[in-house]
């Protein structure tokens, strides 16, 4: 290890251009790929208020076909959501809520309207998603059932709509209707796409705004699966309920089309496909791997040629090492491991730059106009042991791709010719 570090320092002093270009190119390639990795990780890694992502399933959409002639699909009505997802074995909490944001104008005690993103949720919603309650309380099941006009607002809305006034118990105008504020929660990132909102209102099952006929509406089902329960066993129960629903629909000549719901966080994070489409996670995954491969192979080819150039200057050294008993395989191992140290050092810088960039630039995760400038992930969602593991793994792959050919070529050099090389 010590001799490898000495060799690296020697290269930096004696071949500074090649050494620094190698280092920077490595850092840049790891930076690029880590940004892509982190963009994807942010959509699946648990962070508040979606700390439950590892155990979360989302029941989304109902698709009904009329003998193939007429297809209808949309989010569910409250009744259909309950029929398909309520009381499943192995599920700790089930919430029926509206996943889409409603942009609304709100006004508190300050005499001006502000724009906010609102979402209708039930009481169970806060048992699944860990919104931090700063003041007041969450909804009660009775309030939801009766459609009491109460609201939970975020810290930002409390500040902007009420200033220094205590918002709990105060009236807030949301979309031209009066609500009573019952709680204040900490601000959260819109990257928590299922849990985030500025304002939560009760998802009253009889609210006509949430229905489009008997089958369709705006409801989704959030399922918090118990520890150790297999997602597939939950899906199997849901599939059986689809069969039961089909039996009910049969006299009308209709049947459901099942698309794999409830979906896990990988599907949710990829952005749910249309309501009449089965999400293709495999295809998204393949596309991701192709992008990773391109981002690795292109710089690896350049790094390989630079390493080849560095090795040409060390041919006689390789000859001497061979003379003193170093085997070909040891030469290959030594060159690859020496290069791995450089790659790791560059990778460290690349990861650090990637984390800073991914944290600072919220536009990375979608339209700033959609997410808002507050779309900033938690640092823990970007930098964690999994991310570090992925980064080290990528460095290793980059190193193997870039160093293998020069290392094998160096090991194949005839020791006599190598020693005589000036």
């Amino acid at each position: 290890m010590k001799t490898k570090l000495l060799q690296i320092l020697y290269d930096v002093r004696h071949q500074p251009v090649i050494a620094w270009v190698t280092f920077i190119a490595t850092a840049l390639s790891i930076f690029l790929i880590m940004v892509v990795v982190m963009m994807q990780r942010v959509s699946v890694v648990p962070f508040a208020p979606e700390s439950c992502r590892d155990r979360l399933l989302l029941g989304a959409y109902i698709h009904v076909s009329d003998d193939g002639h007429n297809d209808s699909s949309a989010p569910m009505s409250y009744e259909i959501a309950r029929k398909l997802y309520e009381g499943l074995d192995g599920v700790e909490h089930t919430s029926f809520f509206i996943r889409d944001w409603d942009p609304v104008d709100v006004k508190g005690t300050k005499n001006e309207y502000i724009t906010a993103k609102s979402r209708f949720v039930d009481a169970e919603f806060f048992n699944i998603f860990d919104h931090k309650l700063l003041q007041g309380r969450f909804f009660t099941p009775e309030e939801v059932k009766a459609g009491i006009p109460v609201a939970i607002i975020s810290e930002r809305i409390a500040r902007e709509a009420f200033g220094d006034d205590n918002p709990v118990g105060a009236t807030i105008i949301i979309a031209q209707k009066d609500y009573r504020v019952c709680g204040v929660v900490a601000d959260s990132s819109p990257l928590a796409s299922t849990a985030f909102a500025d304002i939560f209102r009760v998802a009253w099952p009889e609210n006509p705004e949430l229905y489009y006929g008997d089958m369709f509406g705006r409801f989704y089902a959030g399922l918090l699966v118990a520890d150790g329960v297999d997602f597939e066993s939950v899906r199997e129960q849901v599939r059986r309920r689809y069969d039961e629903l089909d039996s009910e629909l049969a006299p009308e000549g209709k049947k459901t089309v099942y698309h794999g719901s409830p979906f896990d966080q990988e599907v949710i994070g990829a952005g749910l496909s249309g309501s009449n489409v089965t999400p293709d996670v495999g295809s998204a995954r393949r596309m991701r791997y192709i992008i990773y491969a391109i981002l690795l192979i292109v710089p690896a080819i350049n790094l390989s040629s630079m390493l080849h150039s560095r090795m040409r200057r060390r041919v006689s050294e390789i000859g001497v090492r061979r003379a003193y008993g170093c085997t070909r395989s040891r030469i290959v191992f030594d060159i690859i491991s020496e290069n791995f140290i450089v790659t790791l050092a560059g990778g460290f810088i690349g990861v650090a730059a990637g984390v800073i960039f991914a944290y600072s630039y919220s536009g990375l995760y979608g339209s700033v106009a959609t997410l808002g400038p507050e779309a900033r992930p938690e640092i823990g969602a970007l930098l964690n042991w999994t991310t570090i593991g992925i980064a080290v793994g990528l460095c290793f792959i980059l190193n193997i791709i870039s160093a293998s050919v020069p290392a094998i070529q160096a090991a194949r050099v005839n020791p006599v010719e190598a020693i005589n090389k000036k």
């Binding site: 010590k2 001799t3 000495l6 060799q7 320092l9 020697y10 290269d11 004696h14 006689s316 050294e317 000859g319 001497v320 090492r321 061979r322 003379a323 003193y324 008993g325 170093c326 085997t327 070909r328 395989s329 040891r330 005839n414 020791p415 006599v416 020693i419």
Partner: protein
């Protein structure tokens, strides 16, 4: 007992158009503890022979036996292991590794020896450098040493593994006469005190005359 036995060694280099015979039917025996010089004009095959004895090159025909072991065949790993345990090399251009200091250069052969602990390696390096009066330069890089000092370090590297045979290819070729004499004195000391067999290629008649035997080459053949 012959420690080096070469029988009918020939080496022919083939290129697209021509065939060059570097060695032709060489038969040489070197006894244990002998200090042998190989002399001859440039291009007569001296270094080729040294490379074959050092198992760095293979003969076209003939057989080679070192320390009673035949090397007509052998894998890369076998040859590397044998070289590491039994052979030391001293080159005209020293061939020290520029990124490593004196201690690390001398330690090099021991790093390829399995089962030797770092403490033992360091002890051996210290011992051999003290013997060659180079311990005060232990942290220096090769670029900070004179030619004579570099060759001393190269000899230390050749000695550190306690090989039975040292192969020296014009070890004084890049040194002035004073430093050359010092290096020769070191090789003689090594030969006498440790009983190390030394085969040295040289152009220097005076240095050759100080050795036990001179083998003279001409056009790839032994002439005396």
């Amino acid at each position: 007992m012959s420690i080096i036995r070469l029988s009918g060694i020939s080496k022919v280099y083939h290129t697209k158009e021509i065939e060059t015979t570097a060695l032709e039917n060489i038969n040489i025996n070197v006894e244990r503890g002998e200090f042998v010089s190989i002399m001859g004009p440039s291009g007569c095959g001296k270094s080729t022979l040294l490379n074959i004895i050092g198992l760095l090159d293979r003969p076209t025909t003939g057989s080679i036996e070192l320390l009673g072991r035949s090397f007509d065949t052998g894998s890369d790993g076998d040859l590397a292991h044998f070289r590491n345990e039994n052979l030391g090399f001293v080159f005209q251009s020293f061939h020290l590794i520029p990124s490593l200091n004196v201690a690390a250069n001398v330690e090099l052969p021991l790093t390829y020896r399995s089962g030797m602990h770092a403490a033992e390696r360091r002890r051996r390096v210290q011992e051999v450098l003290e013997r060659l009066e180079m311990s005060h330069r232990i942290k220096h890089l090769p670029s900070q040493l004179s030619g004579g000092q570099c060759q001393r370090v190269a000899i230390a590297r050749a000695m550190v593994g306690r090989p039975a045979i040292i192969l020296a290819d014009e070890p004084t070729g890049n040194l002035d006469s004073k430093m050359g004499a010092e290096v020769m004195a070191l090789l003689h000391k090594l030969n006498k005190e440790d009983g190390t067999t030394i085969v040295m290629v040289t152009h220097n008649e005076a240095q050759a005359l100080e050795t036990d035997r001179i083998i003279r080459f001409f056009d790839g053949r032994v002439i005396s």
